[in-house]
């Protein structure tokens, strides 16, 4: 059972939550018992059921605590199955959430939703999917952050040691635009059926924009696009260039995806191409090599042949590719962090939509 605060009014309750460090700095919906109970009811799960432990506080992430975070974030009950799956994902020991929260690097859990849940929960996958204005995206991602604050104990300067952070640490959730994609969706490539719904969580930097103009020669267009994506995946200041560890995410806009498909590519060949192209020589890296740094250690272990290719991805499989965003000139890459005992990989969890119940719509009832 979660601890209860009392306050004489809704406004006073909100101020108490702010003062107690329970918010992300923005106003929240006050998680009254009735609101939380409704959210738990929507899950079809026992409120005391554990979804895992969340570091660095190693708090027990029960369904009830996830529901509190979802209410505070502004979720509808319909969103809660996605929140439950995403909480399970961030609690997975492979996510190393203790280290993710404690690192000085700027990263946060990117939540990618696939399958029927995208439509069922109203999750945006098109224009501005990672920006403001999409309630499901905004509130689901925010619920995960609030769980990381209140269950995991991640607070800036004492347990969340990110030197700067990034705006995706408020909320960082989108759906894949499966209809616009010329390929099977992300979760199918990870072994799930297209009729299943999943969340795939990878802790990454924020999105880095990648510009590529179209070309009336399909082969040239694909070549330019692969080259600029590879360059963006191997920035000299990016952790993965130094460590070559962790999951990186590539979000292709539908135009770029179709251009690559028209040139005969699928996600497997794109991953292989980008693995091969996202690299530097030791000669190039010498400009950013500091004693004791990741590059220094890689060079000591791999040898210092000046012509040796130093890959920025650990393998082609370490790149997740999905299609999302509006049509146009820009795609995006999200570089990895690359540290932690498990190496900053991704975790996919199935969303159980069948367990959920319909709850009368009354989100602000007390």
């Amino acid at each position: 059972m979660s601890r209860r605060l009392t306050a004489p009014s809704e406004e006073a309750a909100l101020e108490r939550l702010h003062e107690a460090g329970c918010t992300d700095g923005l106003p929240v919906v006050v998680p009254t018992p009735a609101r939380v109970e409704r959210m738990v009811l929507a899950s079809g799960l026992d409120g005391d059921a554990s979804l895992g432990q969340l570091g660095p506080n190693m708090g027990e992430a029960t369904v009830e605590k996830a529901a509190i975070a979802a209410v505070m974030a502004g979720c509808l009950p319909d969103h809660f199955p996605v929140v439950v799956a995403a909480v399970r994902a961030v609690c997975d020991p492979r996510m190393d959430m203790t280290e993710v929260q404690a690192t000085t690097h700027s990263l946060g859990p990117l939540i990618v939703v696939n399958g029927p849940a995208v439509d069922a929960c109203g999750i945006a996958s098109g224009f501005g999917a990672l920006g403001p204005g999409h309630r499901a995206n905004a509130s689901i991602g925010r619920a995960i952050r609030l769980a990381m604050i209140n269950v995991g104990g991640g607070r800036p300067g004492t347990s969340d040691m990110a030197l700067l952070g990034h705006p995706g640490k408020f909320t960082f959730c989108l759906g894949e635009d499966e209809r616009s994609s010329p390929w099977p969706p992300l979760h199918a490539s990870l072994g799930y059926g297209v009729d299943q719904s999943t969340v795939t969580v990878a802790c990454t930097e924020g999105p880095h924009s990648v510009l590529c103009f179209p070309d009336d020669d399909p082969e040239a267009y694909a070549e330019h696009l692969l080259n600029v994506l590879a360059a963006s995946l191997s920035g000299l200041g990016a952790n993965n260039t130094h460590f070559a560890r962790g999951t990186q995410v590539l979000v292709l806009n539908p135009d770029h995806a179709i251009a690559l498909a028209d040139a005969g590519h699928d996600c497997t060949t794109i991953s292989e191409q980008l693995y091969q192209r996202a690299k530097h020589s030791w000669s190039e890296l010498s400009a950013v090599r500091a004693k004791g740094s990741g590059i220094d250690r890689r060079q000591r272990s791999q040898g210092d042949d000046p012509d040796l290719a130093v890959h920025a991805l650990s393998s082609p499989e370490s790149l997740l590719i999905l299609v999302a965003g509006g049509t146009g000139l820009y795609s995006a890459v999200m570089p990895s962090w690359g540290a932690g005992p498990h190496g900053n990989g991704h975790v996919t969890v199935e969303i159980d939509l069948d367990q959920s119940c319909e709850v009368p719509f009354a989100p602000l009832a007390s």
Binding site: P56, M58, A102, G153, S159, A290, K291, G292, S293
Partner: protein, 74 residues
């Protein structure tokens, strides 16, 4: 901090080395891991990247404190 706590739980004498700017985080982790009194020695910040000479000076400065924290002194 967690490494030191893990070692202490195995009855291996342990002391955590924490730089000054991470001292509040060390306090948080030790509390959340259930061992708030794990011995710790505070180092100047930063240590990483300061070079071998500077690190040896830090080591010389804290060696006595580390031994004391491990119970070797007295």
């Amino acid at each position: 901090m967690r490494d030191a706590i893990s070692a202490a739980r195995r009855h291996i004498p342990a002391v955590a080395l924490v730089t000054a700017k991470f001292s509040p985080q060390g306090d948080f982790v030790s509390r959340s891991a259930g061992m708030p009194d794990i011995p710790r020695v505070i180092l100047p910040h930063p240590v990483a990247g300061t070079g071998e000479k500077a690190m040896k000076m830090v080591a010389d400065d804290i060696a006595g404190e580390v031994l004391w924290a491990l119970g070797a002194a007295g």
